[in-house]
């Protein structure tokens, strides 16, 4: 049986209550919006690039605890990383929340590993991935709103 406490781990609840980097960024180099049309969740991700490195990142929006905490933890995880590192991290994160990541590989994910419980709740995968899709769109500079659908 899927475990509710496995989904709503303390770290997730804490980031939901007090999300990090939860602000708009006026001097951002890039930003992109992510929307989940099925539930109406909406998130905007801003970032600054220093060459190839994500030097600052922030977000704002409305969403469930999973999407909010995921965005918050994402901003912490990607700050200071290169585009290629961010892309690899997103790939591993996606594997984690869809249950496709071998257990021994989760430790490379650091704090993001708290989202392992999402794999038991397939409908919440989109909540956990929303901010990552927006980040990817911002990095690719498409400037268009991205959608989980």
């Amino acid at each position: 049986m899927p475990s509710l406490s496995g989904l709503y781990q303390d770290v997730i609840l804490e980031h939901n209550r007090a999300p990090r980097n939860f602000r708009s960024m006026e001097d951002a180099d890039r930003h992109a919006e992510g929307r989940n049309p099925l539930c109406g969740d909406q998130i905007t991700v801003w970032l600054k690039l220093d060459g190839d490195i994500v030097s600052d990142v922030s977000f704002q929006g409305a969403g469930c605890a999973i999407s909010k905490a995921s965005a918050s933890l994402m901003t912490q995880a990607v700050k200071g990383k290169t585009r290629a590192e961010v892309e690899r991290l997103f790939q591993r994160f996606r594997q984690l929340v869809t249950g496709a990541l071998p257990a021994e590989a989760t430790e490379n994910l650091g704090k993001l590993a708290v989202f392992s419980g999402v794999a038991e709740f397939p409908i919440r995968v989109k909540c956990a991935s929303l901010s990552w899709h927006a980040l990817k769109a911002a990095l690719e500079g498409s400037g268009e709103a991205t959608s989980t659908e």
Binding site: P2, L13, C39, G63, C64, K68
Partner: protein
């Protein structure tokens, strides 16, 4: 703090209360355990559960009567045709329509509204003509008109609603003008539970010669519909929200209007004659039912109507009113809860938010208590925007729900507060 939420009653004759325990036994799915707990199904506005009578009728049709309709000369086809057209007459009686010819079978409310938009709208509306709706419509009563606006150049106007979720009738009336060609309003709002004053709306529109479509997706199963009394020109509803199967719905249209409307889709069963140069159409309602219809769905819908009529709408309405009043007061007394939709006239739907907790998270925690509610925008994003919320949680009641189930919901909401507190 206890907040009173009286739900005003419409005048109905007194009826004996429902024997809910007995009635629940008619719905096999209600015995389901979810995460080890008894299912508390409070998502009836999305779809209702099905009684054995409906499941059995569909099963019997496929086991004993399956054939295509309106063409076979053989025994089975005759049986299927009789059963299919028998339900048409039953629906006409159920809605108190003038004639079975006014009943068109569709896939559901959405297709019914699209049919009117594409057949009536594309034929009779011109650039600059206005369609008046309300600010509490489901997307199904917004988007078909927007498609028409792109095709024809009509203008869509939404009449405002108040903070309690009631239509502002004066503003509605002020929006009726010489360019208004159609009024399309929801009977019972799926997001707010508001019952619209359809009779008054129809009177205002008809006084100006404007036809009225009523979206009855929610009302048909809760209020009991009398078209002769409502007076509207089109009425749409879905079978699956009325204890019937998915994929079947109804469009009622006034015969004089249907006669003038061109077909919605072309194909078999809707023609009078076909040559490569030209085809002519069958009379209504066949003109609007191209192709082999959802015969089993129609049979199931007929069984659902029989079931509801046996239980009785007076008793159903009284029971659901009691549940809604009980649930509104209990839920509203939880600190941090805000009820969204507090119209004086409402039915069966309780929308709410909880401070600091997103409705999806409310839904996920309740699910683990066995409670099924809906969380999200309810296909009514303009309503969410009007109330300044991204989404709401919604408990919606049906004839088989109980006060004990409302108690489980309330305990679940306290659990939500403990998890996210």
């Amino acid at each position: 703090m206890t907040v009173a939420f009286p739900v005003r009653t419409s005048d109905r004759p007194a009826t004996p209360p429902l024997d809910v325990a007995r009635l629940r036994a008619d719905f096999p799915i209600l015995a389901t355990q979810v995460h080890g707990k008894p299912l508390v199904y409070l998502d009836n506005a999305a779809t209702t559960q099905k009684p054995r009578a409906v499941i059995g009728a569909i099963s019997h049709y496929y086991s004993a009567e399956n054939a295509n309709i309106h063409r076979g000369v053989h025994w089975l086809s005759e049986r299927a045709t009789l059963a299919y057209d028998g339900v048409r007459a039953k629906v006409a009686r159920f809605l108190n329509a003038g004639s079975p010819h006014e009943i068109i079978f569709t896939r559901g409310t959405t297709e019914s509204i699209n049919l009117v938009a594409q057949s009536y709208g594309r034929t009779f509306l011109k650039p600059g003509d206005e369609i008046l709706i309300t600010a509490m419509e489901h997307h199904a009563n917004i988007v078909p008109w927007q498609l028409l606006a792109e095709q024809v150049g009509v203008v869509l106007r939404p009449a405002p609603i108040s903070d309690t979720g009631e239509l502002e009738l004066d503003a509605f009336e002020a929006l009726l003008n010489e360019r208004t060609r159609l009024v399309s309003v929801v009977h019972l709002s799926n997001a707010l539970g508001t019952i619209n004053p359809v009779k008054q709306i129809v009177a205002l529109a008809h006084a100006r010669g404007i036809p009225v479509l009523v979206d009855g997706a929610q009302s048909a199963s809760h209020l009991g519909v009398d078209l002769a009394e409502l007076g509207c020109d089109f009425f749409a509803f879905s079978g699956h929200k009325l204890l019937g199967p998915t994929g079947i719905g109804v469009l009622y249209g006034r015969e004089a209007l249907l006669e003038r409307m061109p077909p919605y889709q072309g194909g078999g069963d809707m023609i009078s004659s076909v040559t490569f140069e030209r085809s002519t159409w069958a009379p209504v309602p066949a003109k609007f039912e191209a192709g082999t219809p959802h015969i089993a769905g129609v049979i199931g819908l007929g069984a659902a109507i029989d079931y509801l009529e046996t239980v009785g709408f007076g008793a159903i309405a009284a029971h659901e009113r009691d549940l809604l009043t009980y649930a509104s007061e209990a839920v509203a007394s939880i600190p941090g809860i805000r009820i969204v939709g507090t119209a004086r006239e409402r039915a069966s739907i309780l929308g709410f938010t909880l401070d600091g907790v997103h409705p999806h998270d409310i839904g996920a925690v309740l699910d683990h208590e066995g409670v099924a509610i809906r969380a999200g925008h309810h296909c009514a994003q303009p309503v969410m925007r009007r109330f300044g919320v991204p989404a709401t949680a919604r408990a919606s009641f049906a004839l088989y729900n109980t006060r004990a189930e409302v108690d489980v919901l309330v305990r679940g909401l306290h659990q939500v507060k403990r998890v996210f507190g």
